[in-house]
Amino acid sequence: MARTAYVSLGERLSHALAQLIEGVTHSPPYLWSQRWLRRRGVTGRGFVIALPYLWSILFFAIPFVIVLKISFSATQISMPPYAPLIEWLGEQALAIKLNLANFSFLLKDALYTRAYLNSLVIAGISTFLCLLVGYPMAYGIARATPAWRNVLLMMVVLPFWTSFLLRVYAWIGLLKNNGVINNVLMALGIIDQPIVMLQTDFAVYIGIVYSYLPFMVLPLYATLEKMDLTLLEAAADLGCRPTKAFFRITWPLSVPGVIAGAMLVFIPAVGEFVIPSLLGGPDSLMIGAVLWNEFFNNRDWPVASAVAIAMLLLLVVPIMVFQYFQGRELSAHR
């Protein structure tokens, strides 16, 4: 019997591609240029390693240096709206003027410290709320049957398919005085005056917890799912009741996930701008909004840059903590 010579399109394509690559890499021009590059220290491996470095230099280090530079400049009405940091005075003299006034201004004006503190508090409480809501969710998903697990995970990730801005806007429709929630409650006769929810801290918490919940649930799920369930059987066997076993076994083993989730929620929540400006009131002043005001309303680029640098420093600490714990966990599981 003749063998059916059916080859799928994908297989044929990949075969053709492999042949093409084979042909190119063995052609004399390729080999010559490879030899030429290698003589100058350029290798494929070096290129692969250099690429991410180039990326972060281009999109992180250079912008950061620019912002840092602006933060040490003085304001002036010009284009761009700040004085140059380095001036060539002629006669072989180079003047570098470091203007520290922007940073001392941040400390002097209570607005900034208040905004920073408020951001930290709101981000901290939101993180805690996310953990409170996210942990049972992650636990439930991790302990569900494999078929259900995929469905539930899908439902956690599903909101990402809609624009973030759109989802926050939708909450306005739900929370406003004649919004869905108030209308339903009034129609049911539970309340007769609409509850003011929009433009309060409550709305900000709702927005942040809602938006960042998946970032808490997913790392928690990852740690809870890989947990060895025989550990719980062992605990029970040794006379430990299920609730106690949770606090002695499950919780300590899920701490790396809790830290990862908390960092993923806390760090972006500190600098959150969209949610407080759409859902929050005038009182819920967060550092993101201050930054926006300085930059676009006051056109004070140096102070705005100083605000940004200070925020970055504020966040670097938790990021480093996160890195430390992640490194420790990796070495523990080697």
């Binding site: 059987e233 605990a235 040794l238 083993l253």
Partner: protein, 380 residues
């Protein structure tokens, strides 16, 4: 059916009709959906016994053990531990402790904390806990490693910690799931004897699940052989080895040559079986409860067959054969011999002489013969 002769000196509570069993399993079954994992098992296990549940993978032995520990709820039937019905009693209230196949050590706790975990649940005073944990670590020789975390230990050390953790609560009943499975051969043999020592020292009843017949032979006071969720034979290691009650058991424990035959003479003190495979008749010196003419099997262990160049006296319990393969194992040699009818027979001979001048070699014509007490007749 064949039965083993009993020695009178040993304490054998299972032969004493007045002895009360410590664990009594009554008609226990477990189904997972349509799959029957354990089918109608009844067992009596006595105090200070090491009872081995032996069987291949998927035979239901682990499920049976997990039902004793309380991790699985039986579909039907009951288990009594120390006379108490265990139905509805959760694992954390049972008087049994388990040593898990994976050891299930808590990865975030030190060796010391792992061992003290069970005692902390009892709410004992701190000083007592420290003393008992210290003593236990001494017994399993893990004192120098008390402050290490499980991932800093070797397989054998983890195994000892797991054992210490399950024993420190002084359970009356210890359940062990493949306790030596993860150890290499040398360490396994060493630990087997250690386990027996600890068991004798502490007087605990052990129920051990294993797929390793050698392990069961060394450890057990009695073995329960399981197949397809059922217990097919219960007996002492020598009972099981010398007097298997079925082809399955004979084949599962050790290696065996199985000859199909027809019962031609059945007396209380002997039977004769005509076997086409053998090309002759077997004379076996024990009675069989089967009708003449029935199809039966004779199980013959390789080490009980003798190999010689000269024709043995008599006409029964012997055959001609050609040596086809020889495997030198050091302490003994394995010969694979072909009978005139084509059947391959495995024979082992101890290598008692270092350099035999005239050893039997490949393609030699030899006689195989055996004693009338060597073969065992099984009817199923």
């Amino acid at each position: 059916m064949a039965t083993a002769p009993r020695s009178e000196t040993k304490i054998e509570p299972w032969n004493d009709p007045h002895a009360t069993p410590y664990v009594r399993i009554e008609r226990m079954s477990k189904k997972f959906g349509d799959f029957v994992a354990v089918h109608d098992v009844s067992l009596k296990i006595y105090q200070k016994e090491i009872f081995c549940l032996l069987g291949g993978s998927g035979c239901g032995k682990t499920t049976l053990l997990r039902m004793l520990a309380g991790f699985e709820v039986p579909t039907s039937g009951t288990v009594f531990i120390d006379g108490e019905d265990m139905a509805g009693i959760p694992p954390y209230e049972r008087p049994a402790n388990m040593m898990f196949q994976s050891y299930a050590l808590f990865p975030h706790m030190t060796v010391e904390k792992n061992v003290s975990f069970g005692l902390e649940q009892e709410g004992l005073p701190k000083a007592d806990i420290r003393k008992r944990v210290g003593d236990m670590l001494e017994i399993v020789k893990m004192t120098p490693y008390a402050r290490r975390k499980p991932h800093q230990l070797s397989g054998g050390q983890r195994q000892r910690v797991a054992l210490a953790r399950s024993l420190v609560k002084r359970p009356k009943l210890l359940l062990l799931d493949e306790p030596l499975g993860a150890l290499d051969k040398k360490l396994r043999e060493h630990t087997q004897f250690e386990l027996v020592n600890i068991q004798e020292q502490l007087g605990v009843t052990f129920v051990v699940v294993t797929h390793d017949q050698e392990e069961a032979m060394t450890l057990a006071s009695r073995i329960g052989v399981m197949n397809h969720g059922e217990i097919v034979q219960v007996g002492t290691p020598s009972d099981i080895y010398e007097y298997p009650n079925s082809r399955f058991v004979a084949d599962f424990i050790g290696s065996v040559n199985m000859f199909e035959g027809r019962l031609i003479e059945d007396e209380p003190d002997h039977v004769r079986i005509e076997s086409e495979e053998l090309g002759g008749t077997f004379f076996v010196d024990h009675g069989v409860s089967s009708a003449p003419g029935a199809i039966v099997w004779v199980a013959l262990r390789p080490e009980k067959i003798m190999l010689s160049r000269e024709a043995p006296p008599g006409r029964e319990n012997q055959t001609r054969a050609t040596v086809k393969e020889i495997a030198y194992m050091g302490d003994l040699s394995i010969y694979i011999a072909q009978l005139p009818g084509g059947k391959m027979v495995r024979v082992t001979q101890p290598n008692t002489v270092r350099h035999p001048e005239d050893r039997i070699t490949w393609d030699e014509q030899v006689y195989l013969h055996w004693h009338s007490s060597s073969g065992v007749v099984v009817t199923q």
